[in-house]
């Protein structure tokens, strides 16, 4: 019986068991992300998700022929929300809408798929870097860490970007170990695609690339290597062309504003908040283990890549200190970095484990512990997904949109800069500053004259919509201006619409 278990059910001696386990893990990871699939995407980075949703709908309506003309025009117009990255995911989703109709959850399926496929590359990379057992643990961490589960199903380019980063790193490490043209070109393609999808991937791609080129192969040798030049060229070409095109044609220069706050570097609380964010999103224990584990990696073969990735992450945080706390999804690429970095520690663990626990029972205990661990993490993620219910939101915004009439001339202090109103209410609006926006400008040493801005922003507008009463309370000047000078067009417990066209003190 014991031998039967050892021979057929306890992994190490049977590669097919790993394959089956990996497939099951990937399927389970994907299935977990499908829970509460049709919930509106407001549980995580809602502004950014609705930005993509509006864009995808705008692209889709260019092909819709059976919609009323006003709706078609409005969808296309609302879809022009600006350009941050190439609308790769939005295009993919909009093309799928043409086959299935418009469903917001389609993006969730794509994002989840990209993340889970990244798990496959991660497994292959860690297996090459450390061992199959370590690869399995690293992949399970990547697939089931609760923050990753929630974050990886969002309608943002980030899950695709992370998936592509992992594929690029796998190809890079394969190239480092084989020096074959095939891997050089594959790295160039994956890295180029990752940078094209979202240029913030540069920190990790370039970090890993620099680590391998300088640490593993040597700078001199790398500079003389034509493969390295091809890799670099393929990597920068798509994003280079797009960025030049964007700055010249798409007015993308605005995306660089309010991003860099170097004065935060000298504030000690910045580092504590950073650590706190990492603790919350990934866990301090595993991050500490991952950091220490870098020193367990082979100094020539494995460590350069890992150090490059960590340097990339640190540089990323120093470059965007403000966004690191306010935008949770900036931590997403760190998940595979931690998973890869833990690999040498897990290799060491498994070496010692197999040495000290040769019998079948310890292995079954270990497998059981890992399975319980996955179950706990999955259940935690599931609870979060189920508990955040936003099914009532669409009808609320539809009602307001109908009241406002879907025409121009609306300014609002509403959730997600008016994107909810735009998406479900089919109503465009200008967004009035939140107190966080004002603070951000103060942080950037900009002067904000609220009364002047109010006068400018409301000029020519018909309605001022408020759905964030807490925010209005935080801005007493604006609250006084509105209540003292403008009649209420409509109100409920959840919103108030001021009529800007008929001021109270009008003669």
């Amino acid at each position: 019986m014991k031998n039967f278990f050892l021979r057929y059910f306890v992994f190490r001696e049977h590669p097919w068991m790993w394959k089956v386990s990996l497939i099951l893990a990937l399927l389970a990871g994907f299935g977990l992300r499908m829970i509460n699939l049709t919930n509106p995407p407001l549980d995580f980075a809602s502004t950014r998700q609705l930005f993509s949703a509006l864009k995808a709908r705008g692209l889709y309506y260019q092909y819709v022929t059976d919609a009323p003309d006003w709706k078609r025009q409005l969808a296309i117009s609302l879809g022009r929300v600006g350009t941050v990255e190439p609308p790769v995911l939005e295009t993919l989703v909009s093309q799928t809408y043409r086959l299935t109709g418009e469903h917001l959850w389609i993006a969730r399926v794509y994002s989840s798929l990209f993340w889970v496929l990244g798990g496959l590359a991660l497994f292959l990379l860690i297996r090459e870097l450390a061992s199959t057992s370590a690869a399995m643990i690293g992949t399970l961490f990547y697939l089931f860490v609760p923050f990753g589960v929630i974050a990886s199903r969002i309608f943002l380019p980030d899950p695709l970007m992370v998936g592509l980063i992992v594929f690029a790193l796998w190809a890079l490490f394969r190239w480092q170990n084989t020096a074959k043209w095939k891997w050089a070109i594959l790295f160039g393609i994956f890295a180029g695609a990752a940078l094209f999808v979202k240029n913030l991937s540069a920190f990790f791609i370039l970090g890993g690339f620099a680590g391998v080129m300088i640490g593993a192969r040597g700078l001199k040798r790398s500079v003389r290597d034509p493969q390295a030049w091809v890799m670099a060229l393929l990597m920068v070409l798509p994003v280079g062309i797009y960025t030049l095109y964007g700055i010249m044609k798409l007015d993308m220069s605005g995306q660089f504003a309010l991003r860099f706050f170097p004065k935060m570097w000298i504030d000690p609380s910045f580092y504590f908040r950073w650590a706190w964010t990492v603790n919350w999103a990934i866990g301090w224990g595993v991050t500490l283990l991952a950091a220490l584990s870098v020193y367990l990696a082979d100094p020539r073969r494995e460590r350069p890549l890992l150090i490059g990735l960590w340097m990339g992450y640190l540089l990323f945080g120093m470059t965007f200190p403000y966004h690191f706390f306010t935008h949770d999804y900036y931590q997403m690429p760190f998940i595979p970095v931690v998973a890869i970095s833990m690999a040498p520690a897990f290799r060491l663990f498994f070496e010692r484990f197999f040495e000290r626990s040769p019998g079948v029972f310890p292995r079954l205990v270990l497998v059981g512990t890992v399975l319980v661990g996955i179950a706990v993490q999955s259940w935690y993620s599931r609870s979060q997904l189920v508990n955040s219910d936003y099914q009532k939101e669409p009808s609320f915004w539809t009602e307001i949109g109908d009241k406002l009439g879907h025409g121009p001339g609306v300014i609002g202090l509403t959730q997600d800069y008016g994107y909810r109103l735009a998406y479900w209410g089919w109503q465009s609006s200008a967004a009035w500053f939140t107190s966080a926006d004002i603070d951000l400008r103060y942080l950037a040493d900009q002067d904000v004259n609220i009364i002047e801005k109010f006068t400018d922003d409301t000029s020519g507008k018909k309605y001022f919509l408020v759905t964030m009463f807490g925010e209005l309370d935080n801005q007493p000047v604006v609250k006084d201006l509105l209540y003292a000078n403008y009649p209420i067009f409509d109100q409920t417990d959840e919103y108030v619409i001021f009529d800007l066209q008929h001021p109270l003190n009008q003669p």
Partner: protein, 502 residues
């Protein structure tokens, strides 16, 4: 015997000592921060109970106190049923005699006991020849946020947890040496831990059983005189205490009521809540690494000591299912078990890091460890700063004056009337809260109708005091009955006082 396959983290022993001392000093420092705030942040009912007992003991021998105050203080002490021997309370009362009554004395003792527990973790790691791993286990034990909150609470739990760690050390120490001296030491420490709080029996009995079973032959175990002596020395203090409490004075009888809820064991959600409570307070990564770490212990005795302790913890959960999902501090015995489980994995990791050439890896490890510790300290400091309760003293004192110490009262409160009793010097009987009613329903008790209960409860009482707005809101029948039938004498911020006299 030092771990044979890897070098030490620091070549100079004083550096390791300096790191350990730094951890202890930091641990004490954060526990002394905001020392004079009221103990409302962690299971305040249990802490105020200890405060009342300590004050009663102190006032009983305080000739300078006004007679009425002494009488009330002693009466309040005597009203508290005995659950455990009042060791912490006696220590606090003795200290009050030297420095005067200060609410923070219990907190200082609890903190010092916890730190002493940390020392036992460190010594156990040394005994296991895994000193390098002991550093991480020690940092975990001293700086886990839940552990920090629990460790300064004026409850027996800090001392119990510390004695659990000392017992684990002593049991292993005995197993390695097998001398009569070490056997008696193991028995005394284990017995003390169980005496301080009887629930310590679960992990310690499990650990001791695991250790003894690791010897293999049952016959050898049964004929081993030392084992019997350890068992006897362990049992003696608790047997005497229970004999005294149950048979001689009879004050321990009440502590077994409303504790056992076997029906919960059939409810699958109980296991989920148990798991999430344990994971929530100890950390998923720590539990996972601790459990897998067990597989890395070199010898059977080490493995079975920890496995036995885990087994005992699980049995503890089955014995007290309701408290396990409602009282987080019931999971405190898990902390030393997890810390010990972390030792082998951490040792393997740290020694491999130390094996690297150059000072950078060691410096990185030390830096990361200290940064992690600093982060937890900062988190706790922020929590303490943002939770300020000092203003409550005046509130309860004024309410106490308003009611008067001579009134016979019944109270609907959120804290069993402890704050009013402690600061306001006013005690009374308690009207059941919603949670208490739910607990009794879970135990299968059917309450009599409202009119009977009300008549029964207010019999002989002068006034009905409500000090919990949520309870007042959630008990409409009581609210309507009092409002409709009794005059409201006074009403203020969060309290209502009704005159029950005709």
């Amino acid at each position: 015997m030092e771990n044979i396959d890897s070098p030490k983290l620091f070549s100079k022993p004083w550096l390791m000592m300096a790191l350990v001392v730094m951890l202890f000093v930091s641990a004490l420092g954060i526990r002394m921060f905001d020392l004079t705030d009221l103990p409302n942040d962690f299971y305040m009912v249990r802490q105020y109970r200890s405060l009342l007992i300590a004050r009663g003991m102190y006032y009983a021998h305080l000739p300078t106190a006004p007679e009425w105050q002494r009488e009330i203080a002693v009466a309040q002490w005597k009203e508290e049923g005995m659950i455990e021997p009042p060791i912490m309370e006696s220590l606090a009362a003795l200290t009050y005699h030297i420095i005067g009554e200060h609410i923070w004395v219990g907190r200082v003792f609890a903190s010092l006991f916890w730190l002493a527990g940390g020392l036992a973790i460190w010594l156990l790691a040394k005994e296991l020849s895994m000193r390098e791993g002991g550093i991480i286990a020690l940092a975990y034990f001293l700086f886990l946020p839940f552990g920090m909150s629990a460790s300064w609470a004026f409850m027996p739990d800090s001392l119990m947890t510390a004695l659990i760690t000392w017992s684990l050390w002593a049991l292993y120490f005995w197993e390695k040496r097998r001398t009569w001296k070490t056997a008696i030491l193991a028995g005394v420490l284990t017995g003390l831990a169980i005496l301080v709080k009887s629930v310590a029996v679960f992990p310690l009995l499990g650990a001791a059983a695991g250790l003894v079973l690791s010897r293999g032959s049952l016959k050898r175990i049964l004929v081993d005189k030392q084992t019997w002596v350890v068992a006897a020395v362990t049992a003696i203090p608790t047997v005497i205490f229970y004999y005294y409490g149950l048979i001689i004075v009879g004050t321990l009888n009440g502590q077994f009521a409303l504790r056992f809820f076997p029906a919960l064991l059939k409810d699958p959600s109980f296991y989920g809540r148990w798991l999430f409570t344990a994971v929530g307070i100890t950390g998923f990564a720590a539990i996972f690494f601790s459990l897998t770490g067990i597989l890395l212990f070199r010898i059977k005795a080490q493995r079975l000591l920890v496995v036995g302790a885990w087994f005992g913890y699980v049995v503890f959960g089955f014995a007290f299912p309701y408290h396990f999902i409602t009282h987080e501090y019931y999971h405190l015995p898990l902390l030393p078990i997890i810390a010990v489980g972390l030792i082998p994995g951490a040792d393997l990791l740290v020694r491999k890091v130390a094996w690297q050439k150059g000072w950078l890896p060691r410096a990185m490890f030390t830096g990361l460890l200290l940064f992690g510790v600093a982060m937890k300290i900062w988190e706790t400091r922020n929590y303490l700063v943002s939770n300020e309760y000092r203003h409550e003293i005046a509130y309860w004192q004024e309410l106490g004056v308003l009611i008067g110490p001579d009134k016979n009262i019944i109270e609907l409160s959120g804290d069993y009337g402890y704050r009013l009793a402690y600061y306001g010097w006013v005690s009374g009987s308690q009207w059941l809260s919603n949670a208490d009613e739910a607990l009794r329903a879970l135990a299968g008790e059917t309450p009599p109708d409202f009119a009977t209960t009300f008549a029964d409860k207010i019999s002989g009482k002068d006034i009905f005091v409500v000090t919990s707005p949520p309870e007042w809101e959630n008990q409409p029948e009581l609210r309507e009955h009092l409002t409709a039938n009794y005059p409201l004498i006074d009403q203020g911020d969060g309290y209502w006082i009704f005159d029950l006299q005709p």
